[in-house]
Symmetry: D2
């Protein structure tokens, strides 16, 4: 039987306390579409955590969060600057272009990240009617390559962007892993460094299916609810989405889960190194990138599913989640050792 642990953090199940909470609120009729007391409580909680000006809008999935974030701050004749590795560029089947109509100006990433110089390089000729005018810079924290922007880097980027009339969107599909790794609060990593809008991810860290668009420093557009509805991201029984964030945030389940995932990645990295496997990138959060030659991969893959990152370079990605077990790692590394020798 194949083990799917290292395939992705979204291969993981739901944390039991989340399902328990869903049972707890599963009583009686409540108004739909977010006009219920559970959602109201969750909305209030986001203000407590991210700052009083915060507005939160719950959506179904990460792509939905990113698309709504982008649509909130730009028109179809404008552009989003992002890294070539960005989820919005690689993994959303062109939804940014299809739904939002916009152009993505994607740049070669530097260790999964964008630099200010790169952003600046895309700001020539603004206002020319033949070009899409950049309006948003989208960064991912932690990045698709398992790396991190420091708080200082984030602040410098937002300051630069705001000075150029650009909004900053953070794709926080793995924001909890980032916060744990940086040892900071969500607010310190978003509101305080000047992020305008955040895709706050929960699904990859123990929630059933719960993502949110969080407006921090610029407010939400007046028509945000229409945008969400037209984007097919408005759920009727919202209490079961919004409600998941209550135990997740109040009981610091996000931290507990992310710490588990991150530390498992460190353990996996250490074990792989000891087994002689070449690590190819930093392991800032819960992803380990390493080199597994094709002939070895062919033998392991039927037993342990994971994704190849770079076919030519034999680079693969191993993700850990809050349910990854040391024993699974030990078994996996043992198999690699056995296969290699």
């Amino acid at each position: 039987m194949t083990n799917y642990t290292f395939g992705s953090d979204n291969h993981s199940p739901v944390h039991p306390r989340i399902l328990q909470y869903m049972e707890k609120i599963n009583t009686g009729a409540m108004k739909a579409y977010g006009y219920d007391p559970v959602t109201a409580e969750a909305e209030k909680l986001f203000k407590t955590i991210f700052g009083a000006e915060t507005e939160v809008y719950f959506v179904f999935n990460g792509t939905g969060a990113n698309i709504l974030s982008i649509r909130s701050f730009l028109q179809p004749f404008q552009a989003v600057i992002c890294a070539d590795t960005a989820h919005i560029n690689c993994d959303e089947c062109g939804a940014p272009e299809f739904i939002n109509g916009v152009k993505l100006l994607y740049l070669p990433n530097t260790n999964g990240k964008l630099t200010i110089d790169q952003i600046a390089s895309k700001l020539h000729g603004r206002g020319d009617e033949h070009h899409n005018d950049p309006a948003i810079v989208s960064i991912t924290q932690s990045t698709e390559l398992g790396t991190l922007y420091t708080l200082k880097e984030l602040k410098e980027i937002t300051e630069f962007c705001h000075s150029k009339k650009l909004k900053v969107h953070m794709d926080g599909a793995r924001i909890s892993n980032a916060a744990v790794a940086l040892g900071c609060t969500f607010k310190e990593m978003t509101t305080d460094v000047g992020i305008d809008v955040l895709s706050f991810g929960g699904t990859k860290n123990g929630l059933l299916m719960a993502e949110a668009v969080v407006f921090l420093n610029s407010g939400a557009p007046v028509w945000i609810k229409h945008l969400r509805k037209q984007n097919m991201q408005l759920m009727s029984k919202m209490r079961y989405i919004a409600g998941q964030f209550l135990p997740y945030l109040q009981e610091e389940l996000w931290k507990e889960n992310a710490q588990k995932a991150n530390s498992m990645a460190q353990y996996l990295r250490k074990e792989l190194i000891e087994a002689g496997v070449e690590i190819t990138r930093n392991t800032d959060v819960n992803a380990v990138f390493c080199r597994i030659p094709k002939q070895i991969k062919a033998k392991i893959l039927p037993l342990y599913f994971f994704y190849t990152w770079d076919e030519d370079a034999d680079e693969v990605r191993l993700m850990c989640s809050f349910t990854t077990q040391e024993q699974e790692i030990d078994d996996f590394v043992t198999l690699i050792r056995e296969t290699t020798t």
Copy 2:
């Protein structure tokens, strides 16, 4: 405290057996995006129920199901024929036009329904490059007005449509209520009468958030998975969506819930009539439309939430769900009696 029972069937909670099942499958890592054994089992079950040619694609919500259904069978320069009361026309904030690019040719409904003559009236001048060519007829079963197409009517419509090279989409947000009322199986009401694609709704009848696009007689387009992904309707932890349909369909929970809702509507209708309230439409399924004068409504609404259907005609809509209690109905009607006199 306001009672939200009669507001909508999506104000209802989740059936406990659904949450229990979600706990049951909440074990270990599984591949995401539908490549897991739970989803595979659900897909197989849909084939059992709707016929061997069936293909099912799970989505987040009813709007998502309708938009994907439509996109599957038409190009943006084509048109959808529907009733003016259709959910796609009234309640999706223009997602059919925005996402699919298409024109809706909406016609004045006949008791919530479309007739063949009406459809035929929109088939002039086909092929003219100045006009959107009709490609799909979309009908709702049961309708937004709580009425039903008979199996004979459905068959006549699909036969007419197919003879005119039109596909037929059924918005089945309340398909269980319809099947129970007609005393037929899902297959008899869809595949057997020639429906091409169905939005199969579960959320309004006890599921947490689970809808499906079901291709019946025409197959799905080759690129259906790309369409779903680009439409932001692909969930990573699909087992928790697809899985809900297992107990729902296997244990006939759909029937149990819909019977409860429909019979509560009959009881409500009877009690309202006895209380002298004017009923304005047939009560074929779980909705009761009646006349409540403004001054009475003003007193009741703070205690019992429901939607006004026609402001000018004092017509309101009272929905029953699988959790509606006789006691709630009794209390509600008593209040009306007291307020009226």
Copy 3:
């Protein structure tokens, strides 16, 4: 050989003075995309004619003008209220929905026109995220049925619309015919009665291909040039489009041509009546609608091309243009007389 005179006013050729003017400006290199002195002169002329606040943007065709007008004042989650007969609803292959993403709320026309009561009927439940919020009312002057709004009606509509925060768009594909018929200036029929944005048509009245979006009382959106470019309506050699409006407006060619077309329609109407043909609508401008039974039509159509308006009612549309000749009308009516008897 078929005579195409009565098919449409866009079947007509270009007025010779227009081609002469194009030759006149056909000298030397000029900056492209509207940054040339001919376009500057035309822009100035529109200000002279429509008022100092006017902004004009030239486009290729009437559909391009309507789509850009609409896009200028609404977002995709909003709606346009129009008559069912509106060109934007019937004859643009769904470009309003496809390009602008919006919903058209079309209403049964009253003699080709919208009434305030009808507009008001579509303003229920504004702000509800499930519905497209109406943002623009689009009227056609003269209408697709050859009728006219009076100046008083126009003023009442714009006042009502503005009080409801709705912009008013006028599709002026035949605005010259309307101005001539009402005996007023363009400004009196647009700026002065409160129109916000106008599709100013020239092609149907003697220009080669020249239409313009004219912003009157509300200014143009900041990004109007990007919208035009992204809508594929920006021409490089703009002098040849913009320039046509110079002789057209300065030498009152618009009036001369429209008077000719309108008076030919009156003559045609008179002759048809004398020949016993049933006229079905008012002939306010250059269109005559009348009843020609199928068997007669079958004989005439190979010789004189025209469009059937209502197949069931045997109603046809006969358009006159600035090149329609009395002799053509005489011959046509003679043929009808001969065919009828």
Copy 4:
């Protein structure tokens, strides 16, 4: 007074023979929207020139031609592979993304061109629902950098693409300059080397405003006319667009004009070299790229308008057209000499 000769080839006027031809066909009413004898003759002529299977659809401008070409062969969840310098990527204000919904996979150009290796690098993971599947490769001939694909290169690209189920689109905004430079016919450079769809440009080479989408080896989609109409590219008085191609192609005006433009570019290049100006790229057709330091540019620009290509590298683009005069070049180079010393 500023001289605009070197700004762009679309700064040029219309060739007098074109306007003469427009006068010649300016007689009497003709059916609109392309159902006229002039258009029929032009359509036939394209078949003669490009091959019997050819279908041609006239549009307003180059962007309109490119967008319709792309829309003809791909769905919004697919992708176009192109060079970063492609007009569709840089100069259409995101119309490919906005109108077609697609993603552009743009690659760093090699001298304005794409290589097969580059195209191949974008073909990983096809069929994965998370990614836009490449469906079209778009190349520009001659390129935006004034360079050329050889016939051999073109054939190799189309063969590779077809083997990978990719269609090939050629943006031929300057196709005449390319054909003249390569000394081949249009057919040899398009149909014969396997191009599927061509944006055939005329405006930059002496036409008033006339571009065409030409389907060569794959036929046009069944709904092409609807696509053109919905894309707002259908003109009513089509005879004046289509008709321009008659003298242009029959009398080899295209060759005469392009030869003039190309030879002027050679002359300009030679003179610039003699004046000590650094040439930065090949001059295969009618564009000369060279280095003009900022302080010199500042003095020349008020007298001779041209575009800066690369601000940092002091690279500018000087375009020649069919109306460029030796005297203008002499004066321009003299001014550079004077300013430099």
